[in-house]
Symmetry: C2
Subunit: 161 residues, 2 copies
């Protein structure tokens, strides 16, 4: 469905900042952890800054850090900052107005899609970046990924690694 990893990357980035406490992180350092290009990170940081989730400092010794405490940033905040649309989309082109189903299916679908969006938002609103860091900590001592994903999996992001 979602072909984008924007939400996952954004959570990753803010988690790094919470992990780093209050020390500003350079986009290059973040990009290394996320395994992408610094510009991709900087683009995302701009969006997160617009939503007042991070603050950045230009110039030497600059970088970005959280704008609020980790327990005051929910995954819903992040979701709304980086994902422009709801979970589903309606038809690309509006259906046929002369068909009794076509002319009204949009209204009904919108109701359904709003219900879906609300359910997603309720889940995300109840998880903070602090929670993510907490869930992360028990892993850090133990886990090392066991297998190397095949080349195809690496690209597909099929939600397993």
């Amino acid at each position: 469905m979602s072909t984008s990893s924007r939400f996952a990357v954004a959570v990753h980035v803010l988690t790094l900042m919470a992990w780093a406490d209050d020390e500003p992180l350079k986009s290059e350092h973040v990009a290394e952890s996320v395994n992408t290009n610094p510009v991709v990170i900087r683009r995302m940081l701009c969006e997160l800054a617009e939503s007042k989730l991070v603050v950045s400092q230009t110039g030497a010794m600059g970088g970005s850090k959280l704008a609020r405490q980790p327990e005051q940033i929910t995954l819903l905040d992040i979701y709304q900052a980086v994902e422009s649309r709801g979970v589903f989309s309606l038809h690309r082109h509006p259906p046929n107005r002369h068909c009794p189903v076509g002319v009204n299916i949009g209204t009904v679908l919108n109701q359904v899609l709003d219900e879906v969006d609300s359910a997603v938002e309720r889940v995300l609103a109840n998880i903070t970046i602090k929670d993510v860091v907490s869930r992360l900590k028990p892993c850090v001592s133990t886990a090392v990924s066991k297998r190397k994903p095949a080349a195809k999996e690496q690209v597909l992001s099929a939600r397993n690694y």
Copy 2:
């Protein structure tokens, strides 16, 4: 997020069939209501048939109809038939294994994304095609869409028409 309208179109198609009662619908007729090409519809009908939601008949006087009663088809069935992935994706490329956050964020994100998917599925499991038809009926007598969307909106499917 979701750049695809597959779910919306699939619901539209099955709603048409429920509306038509047990009469087989031609792909061309369905395409007219959805406002797209018959082949797009036939492709989708094949997926829906694989999931045993519709049955099709080739040849003259052929067409497709529901494989079960409308009250026995949930939006979750449809969702699973036409959308291959979950609501969100993880990183395109796996994060840096040598970073304590990077190596474990996938595990935590998977937990979160599973919670999200479950929430979506709970909503969709509780709505049947019969419900959709019921919600549709009150509209049919009254509503006629008031404004003509601008050209750009028609393409963007910004979830309003």
